[in-house]
């Protein structure tokens, strides 16, 4: 108990602080004397041992409430949603392989050649992931292009008509109504059919790769809703992009293909059965995410690095190579299909959904003098990104608290769409920035009040899909926009994009960020050339690119992968250095204020997300304080009735149960023998693998690993399994199904140590044992994720039902 004592001496409390004094008074037993003797004794009385309902995370139990009498608040307690919560609905993935008897048998049975086939199958799956992801990207691109083209043509004709005759307010209404109705459809399908398809999907995939099972996140239904939703929201003219959702789509495709079946369609193709477990699936999902990035930006290496950056805890070189293969296939597929679609087959020059266009080294080269300017732009990007995130934080909090009904969410999305159209229209209406139409590549030139043969420059920015606007900002010749237009556009689009992110539509934040950044970057470039009397700062397109990088970096705070993505999207390696500097600066400056947008949303969703390291100041916490206790254990040969009762206890949702030596005398604490999962127990109950039946030769065949895989990933709930009264008295032998060597830690292990083990091995359950190998507690993801470094040092999140 040395470290506990030390902790008290370190605490350095201010005696004048009343709050602190009170807190100190309430905890002498726990911090002072140490719970090793007193607490331990109380925990391991036979009465609380092996009792269903005493489950580690959930407390609805009288015993425990007595323990906590010093707390004045009654539990359960209702509080408004805040960011310091962990939701109970998220489970961990089982990345750790259960090395039970069945597994060993299977390994013995499969010979060496069969394992080679498995390896080939992995490559085949990766190729298929790449191809399908590329095709989905093509589909989105082509449909968006056509539908958006149709919409803009209709609105443009209408505006042209009413410009002559008067009555432009009708055009405004038409535009707003078109937008709102398209977005309504997109929002309805998301809100009512699959809410997990909302947003960019990157936070969800990040969580999945981190090891959190987000319900429904990799289902086929989600993919369909996601693809339709993103098409509708881009066509609906919201300030969104279609790139982020590609990552989610790629991940769903990967998860689907690697399983060889779809539970949404209720079809099982009887292939790839070997891969039906979390370990394999997650590897493929990281390949799918990489393929998605690669299709979205034409950045295969960026895609691989994205997977590396977001889900790198389980990584090896073969996996990397396979992921790279999937990325390359994906961008190649997109490339070839789009080249055929655009009529120049096999040209292979449009590698991504967004193509930044060609940046010539000669025209847009940079010199060493410009580096400080780029860094300054990084600072600006960091500040603006932090502002964006802070505003979006408040908005999201409001949305979670008040706008949680699907109808309200749909109405909100429609309103945003209408307002986006109205703002765009008013900006175009008020703008007097006219540019000659000749020689420019404007897709839908709006004349409005300009002279004949000229177009409204504001309209190129607002009256276009965001992707096209970004490319225009990068590449339009100097003088295409006047500074006033750019300034107003940046301001308006900043707020629109901030308002839009977090709506119940599926849409990404990459393109809006790039667009905001490109607008102010170009403005910056123009003012530079104005200040320096136009000497060396010739091309504002270069500054638009750096501004875009700075803004995106300031919002999402990705580093390595974003640098490479931007580099690959511009196709110019020499920009690597300035882009890296800009992103670095933006991240440093941004992190000083608030965290990145994706992390923020993960936190607001109360996901138990494990970061790379435990909080730095947490060494004084030990496994004893972290773990949940008492633990519901099972005996090695357990009564079926007990198992059913434990599993069907509604107040708990435990998934792992330590298996202890079956001692007929239950008053004695027994040693740890293994760990068994809820899913395994359910399969056992379903197949009625009872000792008595085996003795009577009622069991036709022995259970194989395949039976467990077939049930994956949606194991039936315990309620659907019927166990008769007679069967309840049977016994069940867990010894050949349990994992005989679960990872354990002693009570004295520090939090960072436990954390490292947990994170690096991707564990789901970590058993805490005492010196006699007796179970004293259980550490799960939620126990670790609740410690976080906040503004005032280490803070603890509360568990909540959401």
């Amino acid at each position: 108990m040395a470290n506990v004592a030390k902790k008290v001496s370190w605490s350095g409390r201010d005696p004048r602080d009343d709050e602190d004094e009170r807190a100190g008074e309430t905890t002498p037993l726990l911090n002072g004397t140490g719970p090793g003797s007193a607490g331990g004794a109380r925990q391991f009385t036979p009465s609380s041992f092996l009792r269903p309902g005493q489950l580690s995370n959930v407390d609805l139990n009288e015993d425990i409430r007595e323990l906590e009498t010093e707390l004045p608040r009654p539990y359960p307690n209702e509080i408004p949603h805040n960011e310091k919560l962990l939701s109970l609905k998220y489970e961990s993935l089982d990345y750790d392989n259960s090395e039970n008897q069945l597994f060993l048998e299977e390994e013995r049975r499969i010979n060496h050649a069969a394992f080679r086939t498995v390896e080939i199958k992995r490559w085949v799956i990766c190729a298929m992931i790449g191809i399908l992801t590329g095709l989905v990207a093509c589909f989105i691109d082509i449909v968006v292009e056509n539908l958006a083209g149709l919409k803009y043509r209709v609105v443009k004709d209408n505006i042209d008509k009413f410009t002559e005759k008067g009555g432009l307010s009708f055009s405004l209404l038409l535009w707003a109504t078109l937008n709102a109705s398209v977005v309504m459809v997109g929002s309805v399908i998301v809100a009512f059919i699959e809410p997990v398809a909302a947003g960019s999907g990157i936070p969800q995939i990040k969580c999945y790769l981190n090891g959190v099972k987000i319900p429904h996140v990799v289902r086929l239904k989600t993919l369909v809703i996601k693809v339709c939703g993103v098409i509708l929201s881009v066509v609906g003219g919201l300030a969104v992009g279609k790139e982020g959702p590609m990552i989610h789509s790629g991940a769903v495709i990967a998860a689907g293909i690697s399983q060889g079946r779809s539970t949404s369609l209720k079809r099982d193709f009887k292939i790839f059965e070997y891969f039906r477990r979390d370990t394999e699936k997650r590897d493929f999902v990281s390949a799918g995410a990489a393929a998605g990035v690669s299709a979205a930006f034409g950045a295969p290496v960026g895609g691989v690095l994205f997977s590396l950056e977001e889900g790198a805890s389980f990584w090896n070189q073969f996996l990397t190579w396979r992921i790279f293969f999937a990325s390359m296939i994906s961008t190649f597929t997109l490339n070839s299909v789009l080249s055929v679609y655009h009529g120049n087959a096999w040209d292979l020059s449009s590698p991504g959904l967004i193509n930044f266009g060609r940046f010539d080294s000669e025209k847009m080269g940079y010199t060493i003098q410009e580096i400080p300017i780029f860094i300054f732009m990084g600072v600006v990007g960091g500040i603006l990104g932090a502002l964006f995130n802070a505003l979006n934080y408040w908005l999201t909090m409001f949305r979670i608290r008040y706008i949680h009904r699907p109808c309200l969410q749909v109405i909100e999305a429609m309103l945003v769409a209408a307002v986006t159209a109205a703002v765009g229209f008013v900006m175009i209406y008020c703008s007097r920035d006219c540019q000659p139409i000749q020689g420019s590549s404007v897709a839908y030139p709006l004349q409005l009040f300009c002279a004949d043969g000229e177009y409204n420059s504001m309209a190129t920015a607002f009256f276009n899909t965001p992707e096209k606007s970004v490319v225009n900002l990068f590449h339009d010749p100097p003088g295409s926009y006047n500074p006033m237009t750019l300034g107003m556009f940046t301001l308006m689009y900043f707020f629109l994009a901030c308002w839009t992110y977090g709506l119940t539509v599926s849409a990404g934040v990459f393109i809006p960020s790039l667009l905001i950044g490109a607008a102010w970057g170009r403005l910056f470039g123009i003012s530079l050339s104005y200040l320096s009397k136009g000497s060396i700062w010739a091309d504002p397109g270069k500054y638009a690119l750096m501004g875009a990088a700075a803004q995106l970096g300031g919002i999402v705070r990705m580093t390595l992968s974003l640098t490479v993505i931007m580099m690959e999207a511009t196709g110019n390696v020499t920009y690597g250095f300035p882009i890296m500097l800009v992103l670095m600066t933006a991240k440093i400056v941004g992190d000083y204020f608030v965290e990145g947008l994706y992390d923020m949303h993960i936190q607001l969703q109360s996901v138990p997300f494990l970061h790379w390291e435990a909080p730095v100041t947490s060494h004084s916490l030990t496994a004893r304080e972290v773990m949940s206790t008492p633990v519901t254990c099972l005996r090695r040969i357990e009564r079926v009735g007990t198992v059913v009762d434990i599993l069907s206890d509604t107040s708990s949702n435990h998934n792992g149960f330590p298996v202890v030596e079956s001692n007929p005398n239950t008053t004695q604490v027994a040693g740890l023998r293994g760990l068994i999962l809820r899913s395994q127990l359910i399969v056992l109950l379903k197949h009625k693998v009872f000792v008595e039946r085996a003795n009577l030769n009622l069991v036709q065949r022995r259970l194989k690993l395949k039976d467990f895989r077939d049930a994956y990933p949606r194991f039936p709930p315990i309620q659907s399994i019927h166990v008769s009264q007679d069967e309840r008295e049977c016994m069940i032998d867990l010894s050949e199904f349990m994992n005989p060597s679960p990872y354990t830690v002693p009570r004295e292990a520090s939090l960072p140590r436990v954390f490292k083990l947990f994170r690096a091995l991707g564990l789901r359950h970590l058993v805490v044992v005492n010196n006699h190998n007796e179970v004293v507690g259980m550490v799960t993801r939620k126990d670790l994720a609740r410690y976080r470094l906040g503004k005032e040092g280490l803070e603890e999140l509360s568990l909540a039902q959401t």
């Binding site: 307010s169 008013v426 004949d452 005032e792 040092g793 568990l799």
Partner: protein
């Protein structure tokens, strides 16, 4: 016998080369110089295959020189207002044939090298190639192919129609402006606007139609330019119409637009306020984890680092 033969041949070539040169005053001197140089070289007893063109090639080169001179003159003269395609089409085509002749022609000498080689590729500068590619590029950029009939002289039908209409509207402008001058109010162009509106509209519509057709004809959809003559004619007319005459005054209905947009902008405010006031705030049910310690001990951790 052989050297004499070669001497004769060279003399013949020289005479041929000098022949047309005598007709051109400007070129005369230079040609003379070349002839002098050739004579000097010959006198110095240099071998017979000295860098002198065969007579056939010389003829071709001279033809090209003349052609390019006329074409560049035409281009420059027709630069403003742009009438390149109409005026210089024939010249360009003949220059193309001349260049083609050079590229194809084989000299009548028995030796392996031909005119193409000696004229086009035997020096670093390659003036003929540069000139030819300049004309080609200019022609491409002007997009003249768009308004000239395929492989024949004259404008295509639609372009002809457009040009007629263009001349008509210019005439209309002129006619009405003369009328205006008597009114002593030079800034008031209402007459023009009223009288020429029909022609201008027709011209504008035709132009838009041409543009649309052109864009549809073009598979890839990019760089769908009409030929420069048409574009420039339209530009001039539009500038006159909207800038000088100030005829296209669109109805600006600011009040309804402001009303409608502020209505739309007002909707979210109502929405958020009402959902704030009427929607029940979502509450989370806190669940106390089972741990050895109470939450209170964590306060210590927090305070410790604050």
């Amino acid at each position: 016998m052989a050297p004499l033969c070669r001497q004769l041949l060279l003399l013949f070539a020289l005479a041929l080369a000098l022949g047309p040169a005598a007709g051109l005053d400007a070129l005369g001197e230079a040609e003379e110089l070349a002839a002098v140089m050739a004579a000097e070289l010959r006198a110095a007893g240099l071998p017979g295959d000295l860098p002198e063109l065969e007579p056939e090639c010389r003829r071709l080169l001279t033809a090209f020189a003349e052609g390019s001179a006329t074409l560049s003159g035409c281009l420059a003269r027709r630069a403003r207002p742009v009438r390149l395609c109409q005026a210089c089409g024939g010249l360009y085509r003949s220059l193309l044939t001349q260049y083609g002749d050079i590229a194809r022609a084989v000299g009548n000498s028995s030796e392996s090298h031909n005119c193409a080689k000696s004229i086009l590729t035997s020096d670093r500068l390659q003036v003929v190639v540069t000139l030819s590619s300049f004309f080609n590029d200019t022609w491409e950029a002007a997009n003249c192919a768009n308004c000239i009939k395929n492989n024949s002289e004259g404008l295509s039908n639609s372009t002809q129609e457009f040009m007629d209409l263009f001349n008509k509207s210019l005439a209309c402008f002129e006619h009405n402006l003369q009328g205006q001058a008597m009114d002593l109010s030079p800034n008031n162009y209402t007459e023009v606007c009223k009288n020429c509106n029909g022609t201008y509209k027709k011209l504008n519509d035709l132009y838009n139609k041409l543009q649309r057709l052109n864009r549809h004809g073009d598979e890839s959809g990019h760089s769908a330019h009409l030929c420069i003559d048409v574009e420039d004619a339209m530009n001039i007319t539009r500038k006159l119409w909207s800038r000088t005459f100030n005829c296209s005054v669109p109805c600006s209905d600011t009040v309804p637009v402001i009303a409608v947009s502020s209505f739309i902008l007002f909707l979210p405010v109502v929405f958020y306020l009402s959902s704030f006031l009427h929607s029940k705030q979502k509450k989370r049910i806190l669940i106390l984890p089972k741990r050895i310690q109470s939450n209170a001990s964590l306060v210590n951790i927090q305070e410790k680092y604050s």
